[in-house]
Assembly symmetry: C2
DNA sequence: GTCTATATTAAGATAGAC
DNA sequence: GTCTATCTTAATATAGAC
């Protein structure tokens, strides 16, 4: 069905994406990447100097996927707190359904190399601290209005992220313990788009 | 201040605990474990056959720490749903404050070697499926009584776990993005013992 | 551009002296 | 029990033929 075959260069990147995302940098093998791309190791080095070079390309992409869209919503002004929460939740869960290993990959690689966050974060051209303090302000305004119960903006933010992201990070544990097949797990996360928004809003609404 | 020096064997285990927990199996180096224990690699192999042997001992301990206490509360009968939630939250956050890397370690190692969960899970002598269905029943009973809003037990359970565990899994990301020092992060998680219970109960209570 | 063959490196594991 | 020295293995990276 494909009209154009992907170039070798691209096939290597795709393969690397899969392998690095599943295994992480340390456990990933260039042999496996080459195999997955249908070539041999030598050719991989012909296109990319070394393992680190490929990893950095992959990490940059995944890092953006993980953070970018979220920040867009986060930044958007003229939108109520509840509306913002709904959009964040929906965006986050939708992204993670599309890329189920994304969160675990980005988080564990950053945990092992914290400098990755600073390096790649700078490239995104956003200031998280500023965004968070804007969010804090919006939350505080709602509290003053008496529409929501008192809560620190950053704690609310952590709650939102936790409810969206954790199920994907812990998916192997959850799937096994709850005996969920791939498809059942997917349906469960699909439900959470609505469920998590409601859960949060029910909790803070007065 | 120490009355008795730890034996070499124990010092190796302690060192391995630190290194494996920080780095994960693949990125951990036996050299680093030996150094951390104040010995050399050869001696490490004198006490333990190989890297896998040590890892398995460590993983078993950490795995129990992560799951055991939780199940005890989970199992305990004659205790209201709200009370159960409060105890679970409190126990989980307290454990993770004591062992901040525990959750990320256990989850990522299971993600890479799913069989670890089955093997070690069996040793715990508990049946997660049974526990979860008991929990489901309790939740459904409360819904019927009209004391809480309708929610699937398993979704509620995932919410509880998410709110407790995620902040620790993602701590390097959260600390950097929110510019929290070690101490501030600790205080934030300490606050969450109360905050998370309230957040959940506010959300489900009618 | 792609491969086979080879070199290099680094990590894990063992032998043997003390 | 602990070390130094050495072996082995496996993974990354390069050279060179086609």
């Amino acid at each position: 069905m494909e009209l154009t075959e992907a170039s070798t260069e691209d096939r290597i990147l795709e393969a690397a994406m899969k392998v690095f995302t599943r295994k992480g940098f340390a456990a990933a093998r260039t042999e496996e990447i080459a195999k997955e791309a249908g070539i041999n190791r030598a050719l991989l080095h012909y296109y990319y100097r070394d393992k680190h070079t490929i990893f950095n390309l992959i990490f940059e992409t995944r890092f953006k996927e993980f953070f970018k869209g979220l920040f867009v919503i986060f930044e958007s002004d003229n939108i109520s707190l509840f509306e913002k929460i709904e959009r964040m939740v929906n965006h986050e869960i939708t992204t993670l359904i599309k890329h189920p290993h994304l969160a675990r990959f980005v988080i564990t690689e950053i945990a092992q190399q914290p400098e990755l966050l600073l390096e790649h974060g700078a490239k995104l051209g956003i200031n998280p601290r500023l965004l968070i303090s804007e969010f804090e302000k919006q939350v505080n305004a709602e509290i003053k209005l008496g529409t929501i119960r008192p809560i620190q903006g950053r704690q609310l933010l952590i709650n939102i992220m936790s409810l969206c992201i954790y199920p994907f990070v812990a998916s192997p544990v959850i799937q096994t313990m709850m005996s969920l097949q791939e498809k059942e797990f997917y349906e469960m996360t699909e439900q959470r788009k609505r469920l998590v928004s409601d859960f949060i809003i029910n909790s803070i609404k007065k």
